[in-house]
């Protein structure tokens, strides 16, 4: 296991390095003058030069890159231009809110997908199955930037049951989590249904039935357990989609997380902050992928990475 972990982490390093370089190139090499963008075209050249010096933009590109890498290695992502704080500090302050939202979205997705997927598989062709099909088709087709406002119109404005926006107790969390989690619920419902239908014809299931186990236990204990492996993978892979989707969802519900910080940074052209936010999201995604690989290995002893 230790060798596997070491191997996986080492494999991650070139990707991390590449991601950092790509973001650096994106921010620094793509045409457009950040200084002018920040100060406006009418700013005096003395002001522009001062800001360029402050940002280190007057240095040769290679020097900037080396300084950027050296800073990254120390966890220093530079200083925000507007919020007067360190980029890493600003990001760290927003992580709990985004984590809360994405975990809640994941929970919502699992709470919808498990019962629905199991029902659909056990009652193939029946009403429940057809409902699951329609749900998964629409769940994937409805963009979160429409679902969010729709939920808000119905549950906050018309019915007045839930707060319109902001972060607070569980009531504040429900609509954003539903908005963010529905697409994942749709994917998982499909996966659980098809996974169960596939495993139910396996020999060991026939054995379980032949032993006289009741149908409920066969499905829940034997078939479902086996389908869990693919569910873990999808949950891990979909976490990236949740992180990216949280930018939109946080914007709809004024949720004070990393996604909203990213957007604010873009709107104020706070390039060091944009850079930091994009990297923070990408790193979290890679970390979750690594965790998925590890969990995957823990729950399925058949999988080996030693080859």
């Amino acid at each position: 296991m230790r060798r596997f972990l070491l191997h996986r982490v080492l494999l991650l390093l070139p990707t991390l390095f590449g991601a950092v370089t790509l973001v650096f190139i994106l921010i620094h090499v793509v045409p457009g003058d950040p200084v002018e963008a920040m100060l406006g075209e009418t700013a005096s050249s003395a002001d522009k030069a001062a800001l360029a010096r402050e940002l280190g933009l007057d240095q040769p590109l290679l020097t900037q890159y080396v300084q950027f890498l050296a800073g990254m290695a120390k966890g220093d992502l530079g200083r925000s231009l507007y919020n007067q704080g360190s980029v890493s500090g600003l990001i760290a302050a927003r992580i709990p809110a985004t984590l809360e939202l994405t975990l809640a979205a994941m929970a919502v997705a699992l709470l919808i997908a498990f019962p629905l997927g199991v029902l659909a598989a056990t009652q193939r062709g029946a009403a429940a199955d057809r409902f699951a099909l329609v749900f998964s088709l629409f769940g994937l087709a409805i963009p979160n930037f429409w679902l969010g406002p729709l939920l808000m119109i119905v549950f906050s404005i018309q019915l007045g049951w839930l707060p319109v926006s902001g972060r607070g107790g569980p009531a504040h969390l429900l609509l954003p989590a539903l908005t963010l989690g529905t697409a994942m619920a749709a994917i998982l419902t499909r996966m659980i249904r098809s996974g169960l239908i596939e495993t139910i014809h396996e020999d060991y299931i026939r054995t379980a039935r032949a032993k006289g186990l009741d149908e409920r236990r066969v499905w829940l204990k034997h078939a479902l357990r086996n389908s869990l492996i693919s569910v873990v993978t999808i949950v891990g892979l979909q976490f990236g989609a949740l992180l990216a989707g949280s930018i939109v969802t946080e914007s709809i519900f004024s949720w004070p997380g990393l996604g909203r910080l990213t957007l604010q940074a873009i709107q104020t052209r706070d390039y060091p902050l944009v850079q930091g936010c994009v990297l923070a999201i990408a790193f979290s995604y890679l970390a979750v992928n690594l965790a998925t690989d590890i969990v995957y290995r823990l729950i399925d002893p058949r999988i080996s990475y030693e080859d």
Binding site: T15, V23, L26, I27, F138, W146, A241
Partner: protein, 268 residues
């Protein structure tokens, strides 16, 4: 072979959409930018079936014209991604070794960024505009196609007909285009169908965040963004463009599902 209901429904919806986009000037009662400021944020009426927006523009007309934007962005983006993805995948798969290693590392790096995050960063640097959206989404979205083509070519490379083509003096370019491309095309087509849906949602997201289409372009995402401010007084501004985008994505996903089933059946 029997056409599946999913494929049929998807194809019908998609055809209707393409017709709506092509015939927008004939279908839409007004031009998408025609303002009537004394009739703003009005609900449904005989003159404006789906009401009007904050500048008194006809929501029905804007929604119909929006189909042009979405489909154009979706198809151009995927075309760009397909070309890049095909060539990267073909080079990696055909030559293998160091070329393969380098190109696939690049794919890994791009895939380290979830969903539209990189597109958001791209458009943040380039500035808003649909051309920037297409460029950003196209330059980012090719990785899936590259992996697909590489995988297919790796498995085809050792087949006899490929060896024969090469032995007969076919240049690598000719082997790839004449013999390998036709074999990966069906799988590419399936993935591209889902790709168009994803690109349409991505454009919608970017425009919704104010990073995509600029006013007064009637992009569905931009319309939803404008509708946000009036969600209390004019929920119809949110309802119709969202419905349009959902039906479009649904149509493409159904078509993609149907094509994939067909491909899998043929493979058996």
């Amino acid at each position: 072979m029997k056409t599946s209901p999913a494929l049929a429904l998807g194809a019908i919806l998609l055809t209707a959409l393409i017709f709506a986009a092509a015939l927008a000037p004939a279908i839409a009662p007004y031009t998408p930018t025609e303002q009537s400021l004394d009739n703003d944020l009005a609900g449904s009426s005989r003159a404006h079936l789906l009401g009007t927006d904050k500048l008194g523009r006809d929501v029905l007309s804007r929604t119909v014209y929006g189909a042009r934007i979405s489909l154009a962005v979706g198809f151009t983006t995927v075309a760009l991604s397909l070309v890049i993805g095909f060539w990267v995948g073909a080079l990696a798969g055909y030559f293998g070794g160091g070329v393969d290693q380098t190109l696939m590392r690049l794919v890994d790096i791009l895939m380290a960024f979830p969903g539209i995050l990189l597109a958001i960063a791209f458009t943040a640097v380039l500035g808003p505009g649909l051309d920037h959206v297409v460029l950003a989404l196209g330059l980012i979205g090719w990785t899936g196609y590259a992996r697909l083509v590489r995988g297919e070519i790796l498995s085809l490379r050792e087949k006899e007909f490929v060896h024969a083509a090469a032995a007969l003096g076919g240049s690598p370019l000719r082997v790839v285009l004449r013999h390998l491309l036709p074999n990966v095309l069906p799988a590419l087509l399936v993935q591209a169908t889902f790709g168009v849906a994803a690109a349409i949602i991505a454009e919608g997201s970017l425009s919704f965040l104010g990073l995509g289409a600029e006013p007064p372009t009637p992009s569905w995402g931009a319309m939803l963004n404008e509708g946000r401010q009036f969600i209390l007084v004019a929920p119809h501004l949110t309802a119709y463009p969202g419905l349009a985008i959902t039906l479009t994505v649904l149509a493409l996903n159904l078509a993609g599902d149907g094509l994939r089933d067909r491909l899998e059946k043929r493979g058996k």
